[in-house]
Amino acid sequence: MAYSEQVIDHYENPRNVGKMDAEDPHVGTGMVGAPACGDVMRLQIKVNDEGVIEDARFKTYGCGSAIASSSLVTEWVKGMTLDEASELKNSKIAEELALPPVKIHCSVLAEDAIKAAVDDYRKKQSK
């Protein structure tokens, strides 16, 4: 199956790969996985006092589409508020990357990852 140019671009030059300190109260961490294909994704956000995402990092073990989906999300969420980020839809990701139907689940995984990161951050803040 051929990957789209957008997927190849993110796959070859992934943006924002890395790790943040999960214990930092300003950092939210989302860990998700897709058992059927064995993909694992970690997506982290750094949130400022105004509730705006200042930075994002990811690490994904999986196929090109899963890597591209998470890479794209880290680019998009920078500058977003938490509400905006948690409303991010997988269909937008799939559309931007021109994912074929069999790879839609990769964009779903990225959506779940950013939601999990926002939830984790909010949970920490409410403590």
Binding site: M31, G33, G38, D112, A116
Partner: protein, 176 residues
Amino acid sequence: MDITQNYFEFLGLPVSFDVDPAQLSERYRALQQELHPDRHSHQSEREQRIAVQYTTYLNEALATLKSPLKRAQYLLSLQGVDTLSDSRKQLDPMFLMEQMELRERVAEATDHADPEAELDALEQQVDAEIKGLEAGFAKAWGNSNLEEAEQVVRKMQFMVKLRTEVEALEDRLFDD
């Protein structure tokens, strides 16, 4: 013999996670002989076609029941629980974190001072985890705890995939 029977019934085995490998291959061989084309060559075309169909079913049954992961997934599917497609139910973060760490170790193994020893150690650890999960499945299944059984199967899927990756890497690095 009847292909509306499930794989266990078809092979004359109890519907259970606990399958005796010797018994499984013995039943398989017996049925395979019974279905062999040579024994059906004198029969009508229709009967021969049925024998071929049954053989296909028999091979699927063997492949499914031989692998602990596939056997577990099949048992759940008989109860209407589908673990072959992805669900959005997420696994506990601790498990995923561990998965991530194991993946990192696999990715870094080639740069390790002794890649062969590192990969051996990884393989042993993954094997031990899989054994533990198999025991966990047997227990959950025995207690009719389908939810727990499903969780365990999803973890097994990750670990089995990881083992395949470790093995593929070992082949690439050491078996030229």
